[in-house]
């Protein structure tokens, strides 16, 4: 009994020592952000939209995608991020190869993603100008499993989900934000946009909402669907400022 209590005491001391040491060794992202004054914003989220049928759908479950570059969503994201960040940082316009940022995919081998250097690091170094800002904020597509199934959805999309008795439609805007140090190009902060707080849907780790059939890309030309365009824009507007504030980049709501 006494031996056990000694072990517990030793473990407690060790835990405290490790925690204090770790505090000294690793700064938080918030601490690292303190010296940053100038930032550039890069967005590569909104060039295409996926359309997936999931749930009880028979044997054909292939996804389609539609180009939506004409909606100018990346420009909208940069514009809204700039507005949210301006209270704290001096935001400078940057030019970049959007397609190069949009083309990067996670490896299906999970440990590879943990071990390898962040794939966007090199792009920020080579494809963005001007260089020399204190930090670069990179907004790119994120992935999420849909519901309890194994299939994943990415970026901007529309999911038609069928159950035995009913079906529903959901739109999503899944993105993640990285903050790169402008000198070392190391990641200071990284976060995927969380779901909106007032949604009743479940099944995605990012911003999404239920919509009716009139939003479906399967009815007519999806690029001309103003309902769909408006709903996607609204999701971006509602989620971006809260995500930036969660990352300590914008004022807390």
């Amino acid at each position: 009994m006494r031996r056990c209590s000694r072990c517990v005491s030793f473990a407690t001391i060790l835990l405290v020592a490790v925690s204090v040491g770790a505090c000294a060794m690793f700064e938080t992202g918030q601490t690292k952000l303190q010296g940053i004054k100038t930032v550039g914003v890069i967005s590569a989220v909104g060039d295409e939209m996926s359309f997936s049928r999931m749930g009880l759908t028979g044997l054909n479950q292939s996804s389609q995608s539609f180009p939506i570059g004409s909606w100018g969503l990346d420009d909208l994201i940069v514009q809204q991020a700039t507005a949210a960040l301006s209270g704290r940082f001096q935001v400078q316009a940057v030019s970049y190869q959007r397609a190069a940022f949009a083309a990067i995919k996670d490896s299906p081998v999970a440990p590879v993603n943990l071990v390898r250097s962040d794939p966007f690091k090199k792009l920020v170094q080579t494809e963005v100008s001007p260089q020399g800002l204190d930090a670069y904020i990179v907004i790119t597509k994120a992935k999420s499993n849909f519901g309890s199934g194994a299939r994943k959805v990415e970026g901007i999309g529309f999911v038609s989900y069928s159950t035995l008795l009913t079906s529903y439609n959901q739109i999503h805007v899944l993105y993640e934000i990285r903050v790169f140090d402008g000198k070392s190009f190391e990641i200071i902060e990284k976060m995927a946009a969380p779901p909106l707080e007032n949604v009743a849907t479940v099944g995605l780790t990012g911003p999404s909402r239920l919509v009716d059939e009139s939003f479906s890309p399967s009815t007519g030309d999806p690029v001309r669907n103003e309902n769909l365009h408006g709903a996607i824009t609204d999701l971006i507007a509602r989620s971006l400022s809260s995500t930036l504030s969660d990352m300590h980049l914008a004022e807390v709501r």
């Binding site: 925690s19 770790a22 505090c23 060794m25 690793f26 700064e27 938080t28 992202g29 918030q30 999931m54 749930g55 009880l56 759908t57 028979g58 044997l59 479950q61 299906p108 081998v109 999970a110 440990p111 943990l114 071990v115 999420s144 499993n145 519901g147 309890s148 199934g149 194994a150 299939r151 994943k152 989900y161 159950t163 035995l164 008795l165 009913t166 529903y168 902060e189 990284k190 976060m191 995927a192 969380p194 779901p195 707080e197 007032n198 949604v199 009743a200 479940v202 099944g203 995605l204 780790t205 990012g206 999404s208 969660d246 990352m247 300590h248």
Partner: protein
Amino acid sequence: MKCAVQAGLRLSTSGRAHRTFLAALLIALGTIGALPASASAQTAFTLPAPPFEMPMVPSVSGTWTVMVGVGGEYKPDFEGANRAMLSPVPIFSLRRAGSTEQFRGPRDSASIAFLDFGDLRAGPVAKFVAARKQYNYSELNGLGDVKAAVELGGFIEYYPVDWFRTRVELRQGVVGPNGTVADFSADFIVPVIQRLMISAGPRFRWESTQATSPYFGIDAVQAMASGLPVFDAKGGAHSYGAGAQVSYRINPQWEVHSYVEYERLLGDAAASPLVTLRGSPNQTTFGIGASYSFDIKIR
């Protein structure tokens, strides 16, 4: 978890045990019900940012969903037994807000998908098999104890479509009995409505001789002590069966689930005198549980 399993109450011994378990279940549910009745979609707590971050580890900032709950499992006393026992089972999970737990069968071992193509997933698995103590059950008198086992291995699962999963686990005992076990399963996963999910499918297990013999073999010494005939249990097809589960999400916070797994022992496991004279080749497990989810936000 182990404590909870060991705290299992023998249903066959008394109704008091049953009542005690139900009381514990109600108290636990009452406790978690006393948590803020907001929503899994609304934040119950906001915690400050952690004092430090580790390199290569994703930031913990953001919204997380905590799920706590309690369940009960009514399962055979030991593999091959003809009596069953009700045990409490704790439920806990932590995941990023918005995500639902991926489909999981009651027989699945703990696993991590290192390889994830969406419809094809693979990775390591680990399973703990509790020790079989002869003094716990009169049927085992004279057979000695079988040590607890830790089995490590890999799994691969494939979803040809959203509503059908096939899964294989191959595990090797590394602590305790060091046999090899292969579990095959398939599940039809049917969302009836958005909140109600039903799944069911067949099961099959293969075991090596080293995995079968400690539980079903009877050597000369054990035969003399137990009164059972000597039996040399070999490996091979071990069992087949079927399982089904249903889960219903009452609201964003509360979910209830239930499952049943039936397995029929085969080969030398079924032919062992322990089973033919003192047990049964029919093994059925029932489970039921309730869980409560709430969100916490880490700045």
